[in-house]
């Protein structure tokens, strides 16, 4: 039986969602999503054992135990990051220039960059901390930590070499031509004209690499750090084991975020500023 047969057409035809005005529909759907969110929050609040969470993740007693030492770990994280970034970036400039040259220098740079970008950083750290010292019976300066740091310098240089090369290639070729026509030799042109401009272009991606490296220092745990050498993650993990509690990891996480979130925001700002200049 259809509506028309029963004589009900017009007054009570089937209700369709599209009959509601668009503004009303939008308001309804937003209201529904707030409602669902509220229900989820209430469920979480009532069904969670807050005591347990506080005891395991936000334990004030455990936290106060960690307080002076965790800043040393934060200091180590920052120190390792800075050292690896500075050395890695200097090395990256050399490899970027080598990759843009011709002949064996270029082949070597290509192989180096592909190798260390292709391997997991963890494996490279392990190789330099243990495999290479054992295989060749050498002691790297700084022991296993030194080996791990060398590995991070190498990994950073491989990544940053590509970033820097892209920056150098983004400098208009007229800059090189102007410098060369003034009689500047190749290297002088690179160092005084091209590199300063190329590096400026890649400040945002390099800051990004810095944040990545900061997090990658956590991988140094595999090098087996002594108490004084520990960085944030290792410190948090050790604290978790000794206290049988997750508060140390939460604290470490908060300290990471205090450093990385402003840095990431800075990258966004720098990118905008450079985009405006163009």
């Amino acid at each position: 039986m259809t509506d028309s047969e029963t004589g009900l057409s017009g007054s009570s035809r089937t209700f369709r969602l599209s009959d509601i005005r668009p503004t009303t529909r939008r308001r309804l759907s937003r209201g529904a999503s707030y409602g669902v969110a509220l229900i989820v929050v209430l469920l979480v609040v009532f069904l969670t054992d807050w005591d347990k969470i506080q005891r395991n993740f936000f334990n004030a007693d455990v936290a106060s135990d960690l307080v002076p030492a965790i800043f040393r770990a934060l200091g180590n994280t920052l120190l390792y990051t800075l050292v690896c970034f500075v050395l890695g970036t200097l090395l990256a400039v050399v490899f970027a220039l080598m990759k843009m040259a011709h002949g064996p220098a270029r082949w070597f740079a290509v192989a180096y960059i592909e190798l260390f970008r292709g391997l997991p950083a963890l494996l490279t750290i392990f190789a330099f901390a243990f495999m290479i010292p054992i295989a060749f019976r050498v002691r790297l300066p700084g022991g296993t930590l030194g080996g791990g740091l060398i590995a991070l310098v190498i990994v950073t240089s491989a990544y940053n070499a590509e970033v820097i090369r892209s920056g150098i290639e983004a400098v208009p070729k007229g800059q090189r031509e102007a410098a060369r026509s003034l009689g500047m030799p190749h290297l002088t042109t690179m160092l005084h004209v091209i590199l300063p401009q190329g590096l400026r272009i890649v400040i945002p991606p390099l800051t990004n690499e810095f944040v990545m490296l900061l997090k990658d220092t956590a991988l140094l745990f595999i090098a087996g750090l002594t108490a004084a050498e520990r960085e944030l993650t290792t410190f948090g993990r050790d604290g978790m084991t000794t206290h049988g509690n997750s508060t140390p990891l939460i604290l470490a996480a908060v300290l990471y975020l205090i450093v990385t979130v402003p840095l990431t925001a800075l990258v966004g700002k720098l990118e905008k500023k450079l985009a405006v200049k163009k």
Binding site: Q175, A178, R180, S181, L182, G183, M184, Q197
Partner: protein, 262 residues
């Protein structure tokens, strides 16, 4: 540097400018990009003090010819002699020869991170070995010559196109070049800024500078040029006194080109 006594002077002679030789001498110059031959055998001698203007349709090889003279483009065949020096000889210090050839580009190519003054001093210091104060004195003089003494501390991005091009000229002049190459120096400029650049070039020509100018400015070529060269399809088609070539071209291709641009 003088040759050491007892050594054969041959090596020395190869690298030393000969004041009696023509500033620019090009013989049988050819240049190909891949399979495309842009220059098909150019013979050209520019004497001291000449202002040679080069005109021709786009793609005729004018810019490539100019860029082959200071070897921004490496010729496929032929000879390039600068003040008697065979610059294609691998034993010749090309950078040293280039300091004597000023070059001005269509797109200015100033160094953006540097101030106007620094643009004029960096090559003096790094290439000629002048002290900072000496280089700045020369730089200031040259910037005054192009009328930009009050823009010394500005950055290129703060200047108009015409001002940027005048800085570029000052930057080249600061190296005390024996000759100047201009590659369409006013083509990127707004029409109202063309005059100030041509004015600087005119005074430079009047001072006796040897110049080679690739240009579309027929008025400049007529009034300032001492010789006009018309190029088409990688060859010099016609050359002579600018007035003569412009008003009474002999070759059909020159006539066709001039009928389109004049």
């Amino acid at each position: 540097m003088s040759p050491r006594p007892g050594l054969p002077s041959r090596l020395h002679a190869r690298d030393t400018p000969d004041p009696s030789a023509p500033p620019i001498q090009v013989v049988g110059l050819r240049k190909s990009f891949g399979h495309h031959e842009v220059l098909k055998g150019i013979d050209l001698t520019v004497e001291r003090g000449e202002v040679v203007c080069v005109i021709g349709p786009s793609g005729s090889g004018k810019s490539t010819l100019l860029r082959s003279i200071n070897l921004l483009e490496w010729p496929t065949a032929g000879q390039v002699r600068i003040e008697g020096i065979d610059v294609l000889d691998p034993d010749v210090n090309l950078d040293r020869v280039r300091t004597r050839i000023g070059m001005v580009f269509q797109s200015f190519n100033l160094f953006p991170p540097m101030t106007v003054l620094r643009n004029t001093t960096i090559a003096q210091e790094k290439v000629l070995g002048r002290s900072r104060s000496q280089a700045e004195r020369v730089g200031r003089d040259m910037l005054e010559r192009v009328g930009l003494q009050d823009k010394i501390d500005a950055h290129p991005s703060q200047l108009s196109g015409g001002q940027q091009q005048r800085v570029a000229i000052a930057r080249s002049l600061a190296m005390n070049p024996d000759m100047m190459l201009f590659d369409e120096p006013t083509s990127a400029l707004d029409p109202e800024l063309v005059g100030e650049v041509l004015e600087v070039m005119r005074s430079l020509a009047e001072s006796g500078m040897t110049m080679m100018v690739v240009t579309h400015e027929m008025g400049f070529a007529r009034e300032v040029g001492t010789r006009l060269i018309f190029m088409d399809d990688g060859l010099i088609v016609e050359q002579g006194l600018p007035r003569q070539v412009l008003s009474d071209p002999q070759q059909p291709r020159t006539q066709l080109f001039l009928s389109k641009v004049l």
